[in-house]
Amino acid sequence: MLVENLNKLLYWFTPNHMKDNLTDHKNVRMFLISHLFGPIITHPITIYLMLNDPQPSPHVWVLAASITAFWLFPIALKIFQRSYFILALLSVQNLTFTILWASYNYGGASSPFLMWILTVPLLAFFYLGSTAQTRILIFVQLVLSLGAFYGAYLWSNNSFPIHIPLGSMVDVAMVSTLSAATYIFIMASYYSSVVDSQSELLKEIDRHQATLQQLTAAKDDAENANSAKSNFLANMSHELRTPLNAVLGYSEILLEDAELDGRGEEIADLQKISAAGKHLLAMVNDILDISKIEAGKADLYLETFDLDVFIQEMEATARPLAAKNTNAFVLLKGDNLGEVRMDATKLRQSILNLLSNAGKFTTNGQITLSVERYVKDGADRIFVAIRDTGVGISEENLNNLFHNFSQANSSITAKFGGTGLGLSLSQNLCRLMGGNISLESKLGEGSCFTIDLPAQVIQPEEQKQDESSISSSALATEAHVELSEDGYHISGKSRELDGAIDGLRDIHATAAGGQVTGKKRTILVIDDDRNFLDVAERLLKREGYQAVSTDSPETVLRLALTIKPYAILLDVVMPGLDGWDVIGTLKSEASTAHIPVIMISNVTDKDKARRHEASGFVEKPLDSEKLRIALEPLENIAQTG
């Protein structure tokens, strides 16, 4: 309850622009807590001195005023929200003055109050962070103040004023020591809890990294398994076809012998062996074709040929298939078929599959094969229709028809046989060529399958593997990791210090397939504009880097420590923490100071960039040329260094 109210009070005093930033917020809370409680802890000393000093005026009043002044700082901050840095420096100066004033008046260099000087750097770093700039500033301030202290001693003829003899100050010395110890105790406790939660964050990031590696490994495994499947296919293909070669070959030899000798009964039996062998071979081929398509291993063998001639040649094979159950076969050819470019084998296979189906499901009917070429929706296309007057297909079975191993219903399988692969295969073959098979049918009246293909089939681009998306919620923190091509994106919102772990929980890491742990150089990109990050990621990838991007500048230091990037691309204008703050943090941290930072800015910031130890800058909009110019000098540093 008390803590809650205190938090509310602290939040009220916190400047708005510092509320969203983890580091700022932490510092400002420190500032507010010590200013609210500091005077409460130290005023008992003032009261003691007031009571025990025979002549308290004016030095005790000065002391009381300077301690009370600390209460004004939060109010000043509420009014001058943008002046935190100045106020913090003033506060540190006031603290130094208070301590040295009390020491000067009560005991000089042996004063029981001088030990408070130790809180000065501690508090200064709490308020302002321990950047190189702050360190120097605070140290100089301390030295100058002590110099003034010593100067005052020299000026008073090498003596300190004695308001209360040192010997009588044992009580107040004990109180002072206790107060100082309590004060440092509170600050140190608070600081160590901050350190704990930060190391918790780092551990969290490590866990994310570990998940990422697991996912990457899983993806590699899956890819290996896939290629194992392809190898298995190739081998199985060979192994199955070799014995079939013998079955078919020898049965044919025997068949020829039997025919020569006129052994009628044997001829019929041998024909059955031969037919069964051919059927088996056809099924093996179908299964292999389907598997090849599914493994993305089906290649198109495109050739330009005369469609008219092609159909004529095919007619000889087609006619007996269609005419199976005493069906009439009709061939209708358009006049303008001309030359086409496609995979002739796959086209033939598709047409023969459909014709064989039509023959199978039609008795004493008519099967029509019509081939036409015309422009549809501005595209030059070939239409091959296979129409039958057979059993037809009911509406509810139409949808299942193109699936592997699926026939209209199981009674059909019993009656007509077949593996149910033909239609699915034909459909897949046509799709591979950029076409499609459509179907119209009415139960009892017949069916019409239409192959619709572009007249000029284009080799599909290198079959792009579907971007593997793996998401894992295995971690308690609901890590959501998406593997994509290269690099990954991390965005997280850190609300306040206590909620920092919650902030990380929101982190979504979009991770790059395969290469995350690879040898590519990693570039960390920070910008609040998602679109810009997308562009940068793409460009970096093209230049052979791996990109890690984030739109939350607060995470930069932790990220940089974790992923150890080759270089950092940093936007200047961001809400909350701007680019100059971020580079300041990076350069002041020993383990990140060496990482080259390139500011995304304009030329007018050139000097500022140099002052901030930036290794270069690029202007928006980013393109590969600019990127190369900015990154090339780093290459030289890396080589010579």
């Binding site: 190739a234 060979h238 070799t242 013998a246 070959g249 030899i253 020829e256 071979l281 291993k297 198109l300």
Partner: protein, 124 residues
């Protein structure tokens, strides 16, 4: 007499293909692997070579490449035979210098028409 050299490592395949070709009036000679195929091509100067791609150590493509590299055997047409299911093998075979390509198990009428086309081309 048309002389056909069959390079094939599988004894059953050699037997069945050889007998079927002989029945159709061809003279058939065999080689059981790549190196002996190259040697036989040089010694026999056959009219046509049927080359299995999936041979042992030296595959059919390599053997064809060497036959085509030898000026004495350069002009002998080679038809590749393979049981492999993949188009890439077809491409590889054609790139190595085979004039045509067929799959195993052999569909004899189809293979014969390819052989005749090759023989006509080299004769003419």
């Amino acid at each position: 007499m048309t002389l056909i050299l069959v390079v094939e490592d599988n004894a059953v395949n050699r037997d069945v293909l050889g007998r079927r070709l002989e029945r159709r009036g061809y003279t058939v000679r065999f080689a059981i692997d790549g190196p002996s195929g190259i040697q036989a091509a040089q010694d026999l100067k056959p009219d046509l070579i049927l080359m299995d791609i999936g041979l042992g150590e030296m595959d059919g493509c390599e053997a064809t490449r060497r036959i085509k590299a030898n000026p004495e055997t350069l002009n002998i047409p080679v038809i590749a035979l393979t049981a492999s299911a993949f188009e890439t093998d077809r491409k590889k075979a054609l790139e190595s210098g085979c004039v045509d390509f067929d799959t195993k198990p052999v569909d004899l009428p189809r293979l014969l028409s390819k052989m005749e086309r090759c023989l006509e081309m080299t004769a003419g």
